[in-house]
């Protein structure tokens, strides 16, 4: 899950920001404006910045309630499948409903750092 050269997970690359960033890097490589080595560095930097920003800068939060359908803990990764979920936002208590939500959570510290 974690990239070889850094201590940060690369799982946020699969989020919409990471996917868009990779598309943009592909475009730059196609236009010969950057080389793939730089793209790798950018993605590594992205992994680091996302992890650090989520840890240090993001203060918004929400709470949610739902029925826990399935959970598992495998290779240091928790997975929860929750049904009929109601998310309650921090700002003004507005709510969002979802039929099914999958939460994948990894330890902030990798095993070798513990």
């Amino acid at each position: 899950m974690a990239t070889n050269s850094t201590n940060f997970y690369d799982l946020y690359r699969h989020g919409s920001l990471g996917v868009s960033l990779t598309d943009a890097l592909d475009d730059l490589i196609s236009a010969e404006r950057i080389d793939p080595q730089l793209a790798i560095k950018v993605l590594n930097q992205f992994d680091r910045i996302v992890a650090e920003s989520l840890q240090e800068r993001v203060k918004a939060r929400l709470t949610f309630k739902g029925s826990l359908d399935t959970y598992r803990f495998c290779d240091e990764v928790w997975t929860f499948l929750i049904k009929n979920v109601t998310f309650k936002m921090d700002n003004g208590g507005s709510t969002v409903q979802a039929d099914k939500v999958k939460i994948v959570s990894c330890s902030a510290k990798r095993t070798d750092e513990k």
Binding site: S20, T22, I29, A39, K109
Partner: protein, 1007 residues
């Protein structure tokens, strides 16, 4: 700026280097850099470095060292072994000369880096690099690597070094591990370099063992930095040959704590290792640290920190203590010995340092993080330890109780005048810290439940008696934080009733004494958070609502009050039905007296509509609805009239000044047209809130085979619906250019789509259909209208089926005509996407409607349109088109004639679609689109007999296939794999690999 010419003499080069490090314009510096880099890269680079390094000027020497690094990085492969040995001997000599002639430290560090770069490329020539350098430093001259055999043991050699030489050796050892650490230790190219680095470990230990005890020339400081760098490397290398010897240095490093000048560096080192590599320390190390923290020395630093968290040593000590606590949290939790308890007491005490949160007290937030971890640890143990007796638990509970008290004290607001002096970051930090406390309380609730609630209720009541407002507010905040955890349980209700039966409401209404605004805010929020409690205890509901309505007009409290009213009325709607008329009167009174904040007004309208929805008698319900609706209708009529007759504008009248909400005084007052539009928009938004408020909260049974009710059976309801439709049509025709008007109308329609029971906003399907099909292409936000039409189609599918095809048959030509009017498929992404989605939805359920579309050219246009979109670059319409094709390819119907039509269409369109799809997969698509595009490919392969031929045709047509990178064989393999998988999940991976093959190796950097 023109490129500079290459210098021809050494003096010119030196002048350029001096200019590079002087104050100059960025353009000049860029130009100088460019010419100097050309020189560095030229064949004369080596000679240049050699000449420059003898200069007495530091900048020039530094540039020489830099040139050596550049040359080694670029041309090391061209150097013979003898040349590399000679170069090594030269660099060491230059380093010794620089050290002896008073050269600046930054140059010496750069020369050390040059030596390390040499080691990275030629480590086989001097595997014992540190010993080699130390030996040369000892004898004062550079010697060949073979001479090392004559040297004494490193330990002895290091003992001969004076502090300056020691400093240089440690700098080299630091650069060595840092620079080698930057190379990939899994790459075959650097594998041996890393092995040889580890081979220097014992020499490093000898060096640092001495270095840590020598305070002259900053030797101890640099030794600590070097030790930290080696530990960081050891964490990644995880080899016992490295970690075991390094651990012997922990004791000497720990001794540095007691040397005043070294405390900062030592604390930094230990904090870093405790936080990131806690397994490096052994039990004996932890025991030593624990004794240290229990000493008089530690007590002094701790008190220093509690007095003033801006004290640098105190703060470093606090962070060290927390790092230790974090590393040993489980042991500390389960230990009941005095030393551990004293340490935990100290960690509790860190939550009570002097000063207000964040701005003055910097240790609170990190300490809170430790206690949050501690609580989680207690929770984990409590729920997983089934056998143990948990004798430690009372101790942990006592600590947590003190944590709660300290946190409660800390989150209390400062006096208003103090708060006013804070800057924005301090204010935000204070609010964030309160949220962190709320999070921790929720974790503690898991352990203590009702005890915790009861604790805060007691604090509230005690503080209320003494009128300690900050404490009352703090208690309310903490109780509010627990609202999500508190369940529908009598014991919780009993505790909450102690609050709401107290003079709580009198307090907030300021019946007796004025109270701080923040206390009122938190109190009102507490009511909202416990709205479910009021459902069960309606005796307190009138107090709560009176209080909230009284605050609606307040500029600060108005918004939160209206939100609380909305939440409370929505939750308690069935209890409040008898009060609907009174609420409407109250709303009228507020409206006539002042111009409410627009959002607050929408919330109040939503609240009243929620109550109306719960009225069981239909006539009463409709009558109440009409009463509330009248306000909106009058506003709309006034807006339309103002637009037609601008002269009637009277800004002294609140009915007109409602349209000034977005205006602030330095700007010119908007004209009558703008005011009219704003009045109409406010009215529409209130109507949308009414529609949402009227949504039923219960589920009802839907009879799918029932005859559709084309119009409500209740004539009064039909008239109301007709009136609302006319009102919306009127606003749209008067303010047709406003996209916001269209969007709000869409929201009103949407609110009715989810309903299954008749109601004022549950319009007959025919009426809604007609509304859509009358919208011309010029309507603003047509994409939103199409998206609303998608929701409408979804709502049709949830209801009786009888007239559904009829409505769909009316909508379909409108959608395709709209798409036809687009100049290009990508000229309005929202229209393209939602148009395709709408047709896809219709085709999925009622394919006959799609394939019987007249004239047939419309359908032909649509299919070609989706292919154009698939060839385009816009991800959203492209995704919708891929979904449409997935649906179409696998479309099945029970009607043989229709199935035949679909098969004919597929036979005609299949090759075209296969071409478009393969052009995408062959490299034209973006990486993120591949999964989406794999879906129709899977369907094609699984359901179309001629799929292979169609795909083959494109793959091997050089004119059609976009990439020349993929070989004939790769194409064949791809085709075989895709066909063999028959639409299986692995197809996505095969598509991804083929896309990479078509794009080339430059794109393999990401998965």
């Amino acid at each position: 700026m023109e490129p500079l010419p290459l210098p021809t003499t050494l003096e010119e080069v030196q002048r350029l280097i001096q200019a590079l490090y002087s104050q100059n314009t960025p353009e000049t510096i860029t130009a100088i850099q460019e010419v100097l880099q050309r020189l560095q890269k030229s064949d004369q680079g080596w000679q240049l470095a050699k000449s420059l390094v003898e200069s007495p000027q530091d900048n020039i020497k530094f540039f020489a060292a830099l040139t050596l690094i550049v040359k080694l990085n670029r041309e090391s492969a061209n150097l013979s072994e003898d040349a590399a040995k000679e170069l090594l001997q030269n660099i060491v000599q230059w380093l010794l000369d620089s050290m002896n002639n008073g050269t600046a430290n930054f140059v010496i560090k750069k020369l050390c880096s040059a030596l390390v770069t040499h080691f990275i490329y030629f480590s086989q020539l001097w595997p014992k690099c540190l010993r080699q350098l130390v030996y040369c430093l000892d004898i004062g001259r550079s010697v060949p690597v073979e001479a090392l055999d004559e040297a004494l043991q490193t330990n002895a050699v290091v003992g001969n070094l004076d502090s300056r030489k020691m400093w240089v050796a440690i700098q080299f050892a630091t650069a060595l591990v840092e620079e080698v650490g930057k190379t990939d230790m899994n790459s075959a190219k650097f594998l041996q370099v890393h092995d040889r680095l580890v081979g220097n470990t014992l020499d490093v230990i000898s060096l640092l063992d001495r270095g840590l005890t020598r305070t002259e020339e900053g030797c101890s400081q640099v030794s600590l930095v070097c030790f930290q760098a080696w530990i960081l490397y050891a964490q990644r290398a995880t080899t016992e040959n490295l970690t075991t010897p390094l651990k012997t240095l922990v004791g000497p490093a720990m001794n540095c704590f007691l040397i005043e000048d070294l405390f900062q560096e030592t604390a930094g080192l230990f904090t870093d290792v405790l936080q990131n590599y806690s397994t490096f320390f052994t039990d004996a190390h932890y025991a030593d640290l624990s004794s240290l923290f229990d000493s008089q020395w530690a007590a002094q630093l701790y008190n220093q920190l509690r007095e003033d968290t801006n004290d640098q040593d105190g703060m470093s000590f606090g962070l060290l203590l927390l790092a230790y606590g974090d590393a040993k949290v489980h042991d500390l939790m389960t230990s009941t010995d005095e030393v551990s308890q004293r340490l935990l007491d100290r960690l509790v005490g860190l939550l009570a340092a002097n000063g207000y949160l964040v701005g003055e007290d910097n240790i609170f937030v990190p300490t809170l993080e430790f206690w949050s971890t501690f609580v989680e640890c207690v929770v984990d143990s409590s729920f997983s330890d089934e056998t143990g007796t948990q004798s430690w638990r009372p101790y942990a509970d006592q600590h947590l109780k003190n944590v709660v008290i300290n946190s409660w004290r800390k989150i209390q607001w400062p006096p208003a005048e103090t708060f006013a002096e804070w800057d924005s970051s301090e204010r935000v930090g204070f609010g964030d810290a309160r949220k962190d406390v709320a999070d921790m309380l929720q974790s503690i609730f898991t352990l203590n439940g009702v005890t915790l609630v009861s604790f805060f209720v007691d604090l509230f009541l005690q503080s209320l008696q003494t009128q300690a407002w900050a404490e009352v507010e703090g208690s309310e905040f903490c109780l509010g934080a627990l609202s999500d955890c508190v369940t529908e349980n009598p014991e919780y209700d009993r505790e909450l009733s102690r609050i709401f039966s107290s003079p709580f409401f009198d307090l907030l209404s300021e019946a007796q004494v004025p109270i701080p605004l923040r206390l009122r805010q938190t109190g009102l929020s507490l009511i909202e958070r416990y709205c479910e409690y009021f459902e069960r205890h309606s005796e307190y509901l009138p107090h709560a609502l009176n209080l909230l309505f009284a605050a609606v007009g307040d500029s600060v409290l108005g918004g939160p009050s209206a939100r609380s009213i909305s939440t409370l009325c929505s939750s308690c709607r069935s209890i409040l039905t008898g009060e609907a008329a009174a609420f409407i009167r109250h709303y009228q009174t507020i409206r006539s007296g002042q111009v409410l904040d627009s959002i607050a007004e929408e919330k109040i309208v939503h609240a009243i509509a929620s109550i109306i929805q719960a009225i069981p008698q239909e006539d009463v319900r409709l009558a109440m609805f009409e009463d509330l609706y009248q306000f909106i209708k009058q506003d709309v009529e006034r807006a339309v009239q103002l637009k037609a007759q601008p002269g009637i504008l009277n800004l002294a009248d609140p009915n007109f000044s409602r349209g000034l909400e977005n205006w602030s005084s330095p700007q010119p007052v908007p004209g009558p047209d703008e005011i009219a539009l704003q009045i109409a928009l406010r009215a529409l938004r209130c109507l949308s809130s009414m529609a949402k408020g009227l949504q039923d909260t219960k589920d009802h049974v839907v009879e799918l085979d029932a005859e559709n009710q084309q119009a409500p059976t209740n004539g009064r309801l039909a008239n109301t619906q007709s009136d609302i439709i006319n009102l919306m049509a009127g606003v749209q025709s008067t303010f047709g250019a406003s996209g916001e008007v269209v969007e709000t109308i869409c929201n009103i329609f949407r609110a009715g789509f989810s309903e299954t029971e008749p109601g004022p906003f549950v319009f007959p399907a025919e009426v809604v259909t007609q509304f859509f099909v009358r919208q011309p292409f010029a309507t603003p936000r047509l994409g939103t209208l199409l998206s609303t039409a998608c929701s409408f189609v979804g709502s049709l599918y949830r209801g009786p089926r009888m007239y559904v095809p009829n409505h769909l048959a009316q909508l379909l030509p409108w959608v395709i005509n709209t798409l036809q009017t687009l100049p290009e498929p990508e000229s309005d992404v929202e229209i393209s996407q939602n148009g395709i989605v709408l047709v896809d939805r219709i085709m999925g359920r009622y394919p006959s409607v799609v394939f019987q579309l007249q004239p047939p050219q419309l359908l032909e246009f649509f299919f070609l349109f989706t292919l154009k979109v698939l060839n385009g670059k816009e991800p959203l319409p492209k995704g919708a088109a891929a979904d449409f094709w997935s649906g179409f390819i696998s479309l099945k119907t029970e009607d043989p004639a229709l199935q035949n039509t679909i098969a004919n269409a597929m036979a005609h369109l299949g090759p075209l679609f296969a071409r478009t799809l393969m052009q995408n997969i062959g490299g034209n698509a973006a990486r993120s689109e591949l999964d989406k595009l794999s879906d129709p490919l899977k369907k094609l392969v699984a359901s179309q007999a001629r799929a292979q031929a169609w795909l083959e045709q494109v793959l091997f047509d050089e004119g059609a296939f976009p990439s020349a990178q993929a070989s004939h064989e790769e194409k064949m393999v791809f085709l075989k794999k895709v066909m063999a998988l028959r639409g299986g999940r692995m197809t996505n991976q095969v598509v991804r690999e083929f896309w990479l093959a078509c794009r080339g190796s430059n794109f393999t950097y990401a998965s």
